[in-house]
């Protein structure tokens, strides 16, 4: 079992990420993107620089042109990007799309797509959601066999960065049975396929998500990830990786808002003293400190569980997503409350964090979803 600390290589990666993001993409970068209305919600130039640093390929095996640093490395970068609220396709492509491809075991697809993801040429998004609540096993989008191909019909919602994706990894129902998990298949569908259309929505955190329409879209058998009807496993494992990465980003959000708020408590004076000298605020700050400590441990353990392929991975993924969701909620809400009136203003950055938290908490299952799953996995 690995020690629950990061190693030297990981520390260097984190420090490099922190330097880069602070210099090139601090929160003001996020504000400027938002104000300019630039599509697709992130800076392609900045993404090119991130690719240059290897961030698109942190988890990609070397044989497909990647760095193969493991998920712990990617998690540390995500945590840092949470602190600066830097928008990028790190989660949609470098984590979710990439994980699905790696897990698929489809050598041909991996050879075709992973090197192009690593080089920044392609973006691949995961399209699995069909309802406003996170229900990954509710799959109505169908795939009918037609010769050696499949004909896809249906729609997906909440596809992260879908508007600029070059391909989608789509969950479809290929068989109906008692267990809704059984009979799901995963296909890679190029964005330029005939019959495919997207409609992009700007979200509260200025990220983009799209609805995906599939109307008689034809895909070849070779574009199948994993086995026919057996896609649920790949989907679940991909989602768990995504959940842990999003927990890492939420941890970054919690840490950053907390540090900013502590600074403010020391500076802001009322009644002639710093407001941080009031016990009512001190105790809430101390409680929040502890919650963040819990999250640090849970996130690191969950990231290591991916790299070690631990059988605790599903439990830890739900624990991390639930716990970081709750803690980042508390941190961002306390951040606003303790800043008082200026915390509510758009001119001040502290209020940006709660918007990103809201999206991250919702996507791939909110705290309640994951507490429910945690309980189920523990047998009650």
């Amino acid at each position: 079992m690995m020690a629950l600390v990061i190693n030297e290589e990981q520390t260097m990666l984190r420090d490099a990420a922190r330097d880069f993001l602070n210099n090139r993409a601090p929160v003001s970068h996020h504000r400027q993107l938002r104000d300019s209305g630039e599509e697709p919600g992130f800076s392609r130039d900045l993404w090119a620089e991130m690719v240059e640093m290897g961030w698109a390929s942190i988890i990609i095996p070397e044989e497909f042109g990647g760095l193969d640093y493991g998920y712990t490395g990617l998690g540390l970068v995500l945590e840092e990007s949470g602190r600066t609220l830097t928008p990028s396709p790190l989660i949609s492509t470098a984590l979710l799309g990439t994980s699905a491809l790696i897990l698929s075991g489809n050598q041909q697809l991996c050879e075709q797509w992973l090197p192009q993801i690593a080089s920044g040429e392609k973006l691949v998004s995961l399209a699995f959601e069909e309802s406003s609540q996170h229900r990954p096993s509710t799959v109505e989008t169908g795939a009918e066999p037609e010769g050696k191909a499949y004909c896809l019909n249906g729609s997906k919602i909440a596809v992260m960065d879908g508007g600029c994706a070059d391909a989608f990894i789509v969950s479809v129902r290929t068989r109906r049975g008692e267990d809704p998990c059984e009979g799901i298949s995963m296909f890679l569908v190029p964005a330029d396929s005939e019959g495919l259309s997207t409609k992009t929505t700007k979200l509260l955190d200025n990220h983009r998500a799209c609805d995906l329409q599939l109307k008689n879209v034809m895909v070849g058998r070779h574009q199948l990830l994993g086995s026919l009807h057996g896609g649920c496993d790949i989907l679940r494992q991909t989602l768990d990786r995504g959940r842990i990465g999003m927990a890492a980003e939420m941890l970054g959000i919690a840490i950053e808002t907390f540090e900013r708020t502590m600074q403010y408590l020391k500076e802001r004076k009322q009644f002639g003293v710093p407001i941080g000298s009031f016990q009512a605020l001190q105790h809430r700050a101390a409680v929040l400190f502890g919650e963040i400590e819990l999250c640090k441990s849970v996130v690191l353990k969950a990231l290591q569980a991916i790299d070690e392929n631990s059988d605790q991975l599903p439990l830890l993924a739900s624990l991390a997503k639930a716990k970081c969701g709750q803690t980042a909620k508390l941190a961002t809400a306390e951040g606003i409350q303790m800043h008082g009136g200026i915390g509510m203003t758009d001119a001040f950055e502290i209020g940006f964090f709660i918007k990103r938290w809201r999206a991250l908490n919702q996507q791939l299952g909110d705290s309640r979803f994951h507490l429910d799953r945690f309980a189920r996995l523990k047998g009650y």
Binding site: L4, G290, A375
Partner: protein
């Protein structure tokens, strides 16, 4: 290195196999079965006596203390292995002792050679049971306000005043005690740390009955108690530093204790067995959510202890985080017992009778309410976190 450790594991396993009596490999039914040692202790079985003698002889009741003071002399890795091997055979603790968990570390750091050789080995062997004399009626959270005066009489000190909340004071053979040796300086600067035999003339002990109906704490009264000067530890009037060091250990012990109870009884599993389930889900959706929240926190806490321990190993200092451990560990333990009461419903209300083991659950539940008071209240711990970790003013 790892070969050495493998060898240590093999030898440890073999030694435990031979020396740990079978009766000592069954978990304790209640804390009444614990072995506290001491002059007055009556062993409940030969097995209990043998287990203590053998472990004490080996120094493994205090496995990481130096051999010259009777300890086991184990390093961190060996200690971990010993604990794993003890857990593997479900071995009961050979000895539960404030001497080991609290006084020992302070003596090792602040005691002189004579004191270490005199007091530590009997602690390891479980021959002397120690009691703690800290709080006073007017010095609770404001511990440094303690007043019990110890006046310099030349070759000895003369102690008066009283202590309160002394755990198992009625069973203690000796007391380690904070006393006032200088009343005319700021309160933190006139405190000293002294040791004395509870049989010294002038000491009266009175148990305090708690809401649980039990009396784990006592009041202790001093009337012209003579304390030889050789029994004063560390520098005169510098006792507050020792007190703080010792409180850190106490805090850690209390939070570790909260955690070790965590391993014993998975709440969710207990609940579904007691209440029943529907399609594998506990048949009380709100209780289920409460338990899930609790178990998530419990697991996160266990991982945090693991992480902080690994960080300490890598050279990061623990510092005031132990205050947060104490806070969170005790709050968790209180929640655990609240939920246990919920799970067992009407059955949890029993106060007497065999079926309830004399109301064990109800009494334990009430006892946990003190967890966040003793050893520094939750509020004091949060103050320490705010001041020493977060650097908040005032």
């Amino acid at each position: 290195m790892s070969d050495d450790l493998d060898g240590f594991r093999t030898r440890t396993r073999a030694w435990l196999e031979t020396n740990c009596p079978t009766e000592m490999r069954i978990p304790m039914a209640s804390e009444k079965e614990a072995c506290w040692g001491g002059r007055e202790f009556t062993f409940q079985s030969d097995a209990q006596r043998l287990w203590l003698e053998r472990m004490g002889q080996k120094g493994w009741t205090a496995p990481d203390w130096p051999v010259e003071y009777g300890g086991g002399g184990l390093n961190r890795e060996q200690l971990k292995i010993l604990n794993q091997e003890l857990a593997r055979i479900n071995a009961r603790p050979a000895l539960i002792s404030f001497g080991i968990s609290m006084l020992g570390p302070a003596l090792l750091k602040y005691g002189n050679e004579e004191q270490k050789h005199r007091f530590l080995p009997p602690i390891v062997r479980g021959e002397i049971r120690w009691a703690q004399g800290y709080s006073e009626p007017n010095a609770g959270s404001d511990l440094a306000n303690l007043q019990a005066p110890a006046v310099d009489m030349g070759d000895h000190y003369l102690l008066n005043g009283s202590k309160i909340w002394t755990s198992y004071g009625d069973y203690g053979d000796w007391m380690f005690c904070l006393v006032r040796t200088d009343p005319d300086v700021p309160k933190h600067s006139g405190i000293s740390f002294m040791l004395f035999d509870m049989k010294t003339p002038g000491i009266t002990v009175r148990p305090i009955k708690l809401i649980s109906g039990r009396s784990p704490f006592c009041e202790v009264f001093f009337e012209d108690v003579r304390i030889p000067k050789a029994q004063q530890v560390g520098e005169l009037n510098k006792g507050w530093g020792i007190a703080k060091y010792l409180l850190t250990h106490e805090r850690e012990m209390i939070s570790w204790a909260g955690l070790s109870s965590a391993g014993s009884d998975p709440l969710g599993e207990t609940a579904i067995n007691v209440i029943g389930g529907n399609d594998g889900k506990l048949d009380d959706s709100i209780l289920r959510a409460d338990i899930a929240r609790f178990e998530a926190d419990e697991m996160a806490f266990a991982l945090t202890i693991e992480r902080i321990r690994d960080e300490v190993k890598a050279g990061v200092s623990l510092g005031a985080v132990s205050s947060w451990f104490k806070y969170f560990g005790t709050e968790l333990n209180k929640q655990r017992y609240d939920l246990m009461m919920d799970i067992h419903g009407n059955d949890a209300l029993a106060w007497t009778g065999e079926a309830s083991n004399d109301g064990k659950l109800a009494r334990d539940w009430l006892r946990t309410k003190g967890n966040s008071i003793e050893g520094g209240t939750s509020e004091i711990q949060l103050n320490i976190v705010a001041k020493h970790i977060l650097g908040l003013p005032g």
